[in-house]
């Protein structure tokens, strides 16, 4: 419809709609009567999930071990960047739970998800309530810059979750470095992190494109329990030992902040660097691991 040079686009020129320094103060105030926030995140649903599923998986099933929790800043916006694999991976809730359990100042973690989840019945209802936010650059910017929240991204995205068991812990391409650009624009900190165990918890042995089309799902993997046990099979995790290591944060404000986001070469370099650091630490953690199940 309206192309870039239409009068409409000129009229609604996005530059400095609201001065940067007033954006936080003009945010909608929190209404204590509500249990949902403006992103659709629900204290009640999240609390329920935490007490039932997360607690069990975190303590008894995956026996999560955490290193370097001090690298998660206790205030200000920060973008957490992690590796990602397996069908419907349990890594995101475990990282959120790790910050809640181990950090001296627990903070909620927002998880960026594919737009797919907003369009699929059921997921569309549940995902926002437990802290999922569509991976739109504007959403990430608002969370990091205006709300100073913690945001988790998986730059491998769908290429990561589609990864088969034989490719575990081999990082896929890190998108087009959009996550670095988002952190730079928001002048936030970027915290790389590695998760070991998640890629074995629900190994995918094959992808079935035909069934994916038929069901309209994002992908249709064959795992030890899916599709054999139906939708319930999506929760069939193997009890792999989880280890989460938070690496030293990179301060985007020091790298040049907002202006640096325009520099495509710098963005790519930082993205490569982050990817290399995660891959290196993954190799280190895997080298030290004696058993998939006992760590």
């Amino acid at each position: 419809m309206a192309r870039a040079r239409s009068p409409l686009a000129d009229f609604a020129d996005s530059k400095e709609l609201v001065p940067a320094e007033r954006r936080a103060e003009l945010m909608s105030p929190i209404e204590p009567e509500r249990t949902l926030n403006d992103w659709g995140r629900s204290e009640r649903v999240e609390g329920f999930m935490d007490e039932t599923l997360y607690e069990f998986f975190y303590r008894y099933w995956f026996r999560v071990e955490v290193e370097g929790i001090e690298n998660v800043p206790s205030d200000g916006g920060a973008l957490l960047v992690s590796n990602h694999a397996g069908a419907l991976p349990p890594d995101a809730p475990m990282i959120a739970k790790a910050i809640n359990e181990e950090h001296p100042r627990p903070r909620p973690l927002y998880l960026t998800v594919e737009h797919f989840f907003k369009g699929y019945p059921g997921f569309s209802m549940l995902v926002p309530k437990i802290g999922g936010v569509a991976a739109h650059p504007a959403n990430v910017h608002r969370l990091l810059h205006d709300e100073k929240q913690l945001v988790l991204v998986f730059p491998e995205g769908r290429k990561g979750t589609e990864k088969l068991y034989k490719d575990r812990y081999r990082l896929r391409r890190f998108g087009r470095g959009g996550f670095v650009e988002a952190a730079m624009r928001a002048e936030a900190k970027l915290v790389p992190l590695c998760v070991v165990g998640a890629e074995e918890a629900m190994p995918a042995f094959a992808q079935v494109p035909f069934l994916q089309k038929l069901t309209g799902l994002i992908y249709f993997p064959i795992t030890p329990t899916f599709p054999w046990l139906g939708p319930l099979g999506m929760m069939g995790y193997l009890p792999a030992k989880f280890k989460i290591r938070f690496l030293e944060p990179i301060d985007m404000a020091e790298l040049g902040g907002k202006d640096a986001a325009q520099d495509k070469a710098l963005v790519q370099t930082v993205a490569q660097e982050v990817r290399a650091r995660i891959q290196e630490n993954l190799h280190d953690m895997l080298g030290k691991r004696k058993s998939v199940w006992f760590g």
């Binding site: 419809m1 309206a2 239409s6 009068p7 409409l8 686009a9 000129d10 009229f11 609604a12 020129d13 996005s14 530059k15 709609l17 609201v18 001065p19 007033r22 954006r23 003009l26 945010m27 909608s28 105030p29 209404e31 009567e33 509500r34 249990t35 949902l36 403006d38 992103w39 659709g40 629900s42 737009h115 797919f116 907003k118 369009g119 699929y120 019945p121 059921g122 997921f123 569309s124 209802m125 926002p128 309530k129 936010v133 569509a134 739109h136 504007a138 959403n139 608002r142």
Partner: protein
Amino acid sequence: MSRVLLTGLSTYWGGRLAQALEAFEDVETIIGVDSEEPRVELERAEYVKVSNQHGLLSRIVRAAQIDTVIDTRLTVNSFTAGPREAHENNVIGTMNILAACSEQDSPVRQFIFKSSAHFYGSEQDDPAFFHEGMLRPHPPRTPLERDIIEAETAVAELAEQRPEVEVTILRCANVLGPDVDTAFTRMFDLPAVPMVLGFDPRIQFVHEDDIVHALEHCVFHGTPGAFNVAADGVLALSEAASLLGKRTAPVLPPWGTGLVAGPLRSLGFKFPSEMLNLLRFGRGLDNRRFKATGFDYGHTSREAVAKLGQHLRLDPVMRGVEGGYTYEREVEEFLRWSPHVQRDRPGDKTGVEADSDLLGI
């Protein structure tokens, strides 16, 4: 001092705004034009019966030396008018009004246009909060949305052609309130709130009084540009239902929603086609730009829904207690022009003061 021309005086917003502006001393003249008679009682606003003829409008504008035109007659609800009628009003009507105030020597210095958040549409890959600089990611799906974009484009062209005119576009979220008739007030009046199975969209509302105050605010404060008018807080539809004390009814299936909506419409559930996507994906608006101009909302989204809930519970008791109003030309003319009528001075507060007073600050 402003001399104001209102379009669509017979519509809900035209009437409300005319009544509101009458209270301001700073508003010297209020002239309402429409092809139908006003439905509310007016003290000093004058009604001129004229249909969409830009020649006549232009003469009125010149004769009365109008400096502010407020256009609130946009159809934003496809069940209040058929697609053809809506197109006639939204596109052709807007063009006529713009033509009447875009002549080189026209006295108009301010043009305020009430638009709708349907401008942004509602899609799967939308951002969680639209700001004014964003355009919809996909082409419009319904004729109504297409018309709204076309109308806004024409208004933006006026801003480009005549830089001396301050053009304001207000993109209003879903309005709720005891008097206004919108798709959502109708939906919330049903015994249960209809939903699409498996979806719980995030939806933002705004109270009807806040829209009127927002329009007033634009008259007194120079606010060129596009603004989202939406109250603080984005609610999940299920949350809104529980505020109303109603159950949710997932009557629309996630697949083939359009097919089922048809028969349900004939059963009396009014789902305008522009609502179907909204019920699935929802929409959030970034309201900070308008707040940055100094505007304060009287209600949050939650309060707007809660107030509507109160009204809906009281409605069966209160209905029909107050008599309606019919426009009688002779009576109105007598009241306005007869030397025997004792008139109070119109409004004794100055603009901004009265404005903040009404907001309850």
